[in-house]
Amino acid sequence: MQRGKAPVQHYQDGGQEMFKMLESETGDAISMKNRQRAGNGADECERQPQNEMAGHIVDQLRRAYDELLHEPVPDHLRQLLTQLSDAEDKS
């Protein structure tokens, strides 16, 4: 299922492409410090939805796993423990 990418995809390069464009248009030199700040900001923008999505995936996984946890355990598995325990007591 292919769907549209989130807008943050445009800043995957950490905002460097955006700064190149601004520099060529205005001719202003932008300090490396500012670039890094802006880059970090873009990373933050990107990280937030990624973290959010990772959280949703784990939530879905836990929900599905909970269903498995609540399935009844077959009797023969419980009985096996009793048999092992009894056998040990006898020996």
Binding site: M1, Q2, R3, K5, A6, P49, E52, M53, A54, G55, H56, I57, V58, Q60, L61, R62, R63, A64, Y65, E67, L68, L69, H70, E71, V73, P74, H76, L77, R78, L80, L81, L84, S85, E88, D89
Partner: protein
């Protein structure tokens, strides 16, 4: 540790061991066999269990080792080199925004073995990265990386590209967008 205490421990962790086994192999019958083998091995190796350490982690270690031994044996018997069998299991979620257990199991089966076990141990069973690393006999960084890759791969397999995908299904979303004049 007394046999009674171990028995109580085994009983209390049975649902977890079974859930882990099903999530690992994707088959309830095979999972029951795995749990049974695990219980027998645990019972027969009680003298190797160090009292005061984590019984749950010990049992999970036995189960995953049993599973991987079984996989190696099965690969020799029934090769699936092309991955055709696994590919058949890949089905997108039946209901948008909700992933049921079956969809999740199918998606999990598409992960690599090491990614799957890392994600289940940390994401579903709630083991700490350190505990999961000890169970899988690898470095903590390796587990972190596997969990991260597994999450990404899972979102790809389930067709989830963004958190918004857990919102309205595409048709509803399109209608809403059109109504608000954002789509042509």
């Amino acid at each position: 540790m007394s046999s009674q205490a171990v028995r109580q421990g085994l009983i209390s962790f049975l649902p977890n061991l079974r859930a882990f086994a099903i999530a690992l192999c994707g088959d309830a019958d095979r999972a029951d066999d795995l749990v049974q083998d695990t219980m027998l091995k645990a019972w027969n190796s009680l003298d190797t269990f160090q009292e005061g350490t984590n019984l749950r982690a010990w049992l999970f270690t036995i189960l995953r080792n049993t599973y991987f031994s079984d996989c190696r044996r099965r690969r020799r018997e029934v090769p699936d080199d092309d991955g055709e069998y696994v590919a058949q299991l890949c089905v997108p979620p039946s209901q948008h925004g909700a992933v049921d257990a079956r969809d999740m199991l199918k998606a999990l089966s598409m992960l690599t073995d090491d990614q799957r076990e890392a994600l289940i141990l940390v994401g579903a069973e709630g083991f700490a990265y350190e505990e999961a690393a000890a169970i899988c006999n690898c470095a903590v960084g390796t587990i972190k990386s596997r969990v991260n890759r597994a999450r990404n791969r899972l979102s790809e397999l389930l067709g989830i590209e963004a958190a918004q995908d857990f919102g309205p299904e595409p048709t509803t979303e399109a209608v809403l967008l059109r109504a608000s004049g954002k789509a042509g």
